[in-house]
């Protein structure tokens, strides 16, 4: 009698032979229609959020009490000219309050109602090696974490992903497979109106300290977390609250972050990048 493997093979081949699946073109078309629907939904949500901001609706319940600013010698805050309803589009920048929380290395202990750990680790599943959560932060009822796999010898790439989970499980994922660079920065949220923002990324192992400079508000100093065996970078993450008013309709959206700098043990700057939307971004 044939063994289990052979009989499984026979059944699978028969199913593949007799089963009917769509043409590739039909699958692509189905995907295209779905993408259009998703974009439509996203646009509707953005419009809803803007309207909610304009009428002053507070979307966040249980907003934390005001936080004391971090003393520092940060850059002089930049303030744009006053805006009027007739003025051309102005860059709107939220004022920022850095939060003093510590990024923690190692496995995320949960809870994980939105299965963010599973989602984030699955994003790097295509790379070889074992996926591990490298660091995580939990604050204000939200979680941000970084997963990465070791880089094979001789390669100059980093296989990693980030995830940001809101209370209740929803959130965003940032799948990232990138060429190795001395400093790579991602951010999420932090647009103002009490919104929690996350700045994080990967930095050369030479760096022992990072400073995040905001357009407005005090800077945020961060200590990188060891990337672990086989990972040629260290990771970092910090949180801040964008406490400014929401942007008016004619104001252009801009990241609250201006620059991120990395320093080595001797205090020398080993990397720096500028955070911009679109052209001019070097992060």
């Amino acid at each position: 009698m044939s063994d289990l493997r052979e009989r499984l093979q026979e059944a699978a081949e028969a199913a593949a032979r007799e089963g009917r699946i769509l043409d590739a073109e039909a699958v692509v078309e189905r995907g295209r229609r779905r993408r259009v629907r998703l974009l439509g939904s996203t646009a509707a949500l953005v419009v809803l959020a803007v309207v909610a901001g304009v009428v002053g609706v507070d979307w966040f319940t249980g907003r934390p009490a005001a936080l004391s600013p971090v003393p520092s010698s940060g850059p002089t805050p930049t303030t744009g000219p006053p805006t009027t309803s007739t003025a051309p589009a102005q860059v709107w920048i939220a004022s920022v309050t850095p939060l003093q929380v510590r990024a923690r290395p190692g496995p995320y202990p949960g809870p994980d109602p939105g299965r963010i750990v599973q989602d984030v680790t699955s994003l790097v599943r295509g790379c070889h090696g074992t996926t591990r959560i490298r660091l995580w932060i939990r604050a204000q009822g939200k979680v941000w974490l970084v997963a990465a796999k070791p880089t094979p010898p001789g390669q100059a790439r980093l296989c990693w992903a980030t995830g940001f989970m809101n209370q209740g499980g929803g959130g965003g994922l940032g799948p990232i497979r990138s060429q190795l660079r001395p400093l790579r920065v991602t951010f999420a949220g932090g647009g103002g109106n009490g919104e929690l923002g996350v700045v994080g990324g990967a930095v050369t192992r030479r760096a022992v300290r990072l400073r995040v400079l905001f357009h407005k508000g005090h800077p945020l100093d961060l200590v990188p977390v060891d990337g672990g065996d086989g990972v040629p970078v260290n990771f970092f993450a910090g949180l801040y609250l964008g406490t400014g008013p929401p942007p008016a309709e004619h104001q252009r959206r801009e990241s609250a972050i201006d620059r991120v700098m990395a320093f080595d043990q001797a205090g020398r700057r080993v990397a720096e990048c500028r955070m911009r939307f679109g052209l001019g971004n070097t992060c």
Partner: protein, 165 residues
């Protein structure tokens, strides 16, 4: 191996094989067809990212396995109604022995079916199966052992027959 070509090439090269695997997990050809199409639709939406993966079919397989597990959970909730009203499952033409195996597989919990298909058919090592099912390696070994034992019992064959696999 990264799929550097078009989505159409990737689809043509992998859809049939995945359909066979999903048929064994769901026990129903129509259900497997729907799941495979849904998994590839999701892949097409993300193709610009997926094509750079070392093994993009692993992503599609994982999505398909999750969809199959979701379907099984939904079926469990509606089990009574389906037993009364549901149409018979569609199966392809296979030998009597294989048909018996398919029916025996269908009686196993979906996790055991997934483990058996991924390990014995797709030929993935236990660690990789554990990765896909998001469980520990020991759990996979246990799923495989229990699955083999159940299959042998249902087919009236000594367990050693399947231990050779």
């Amino acid at each position: 191996m990264a799929a550097s070509g078009s989505f159409e090439e990737f689809y043509a090269g992998t859809a049939g094989r995945l359909l066979g695997q999903l048929f064994l997990v769901t026990g129903d050809l129509h259900a497997a067809e729907e799941i495979v199409q849904e998994a590839f639709t999701r892949a097409s939406v993300r193709w610009t990212r997926l094509r750079d993966y070392d093994v993009p079919q692993a992503w599609v397989r994982r999505v398909a396995m999750n969809l199959a597990a979701d379907r099984a959970r939904g079926l469990r909730r509606q089990a009574a109604a389906i037993l009364r009203l549901g149409p018979p499952s569609t199966v392809p033409s296979v030998s009597v022995e294989t048909l018996a195996l398919v029916q025996a597989l269908r009686s196993l919990p979906v996790r055991q079916r997934q483990a058996i298909v991924l390990h014995y058919l797709v030929d993935l090592p236990v660690e990789e199966v554990a990765h896909i099912l998001a469980v520990r390696g020991g759990t996979v070994k246990s799923l495989l052992a229990r699955g083999r034992r159940s299959l042998a019992a249902r087919l009236g064959e000594p367990e050693e027959v399947f231990d050779r696999a």
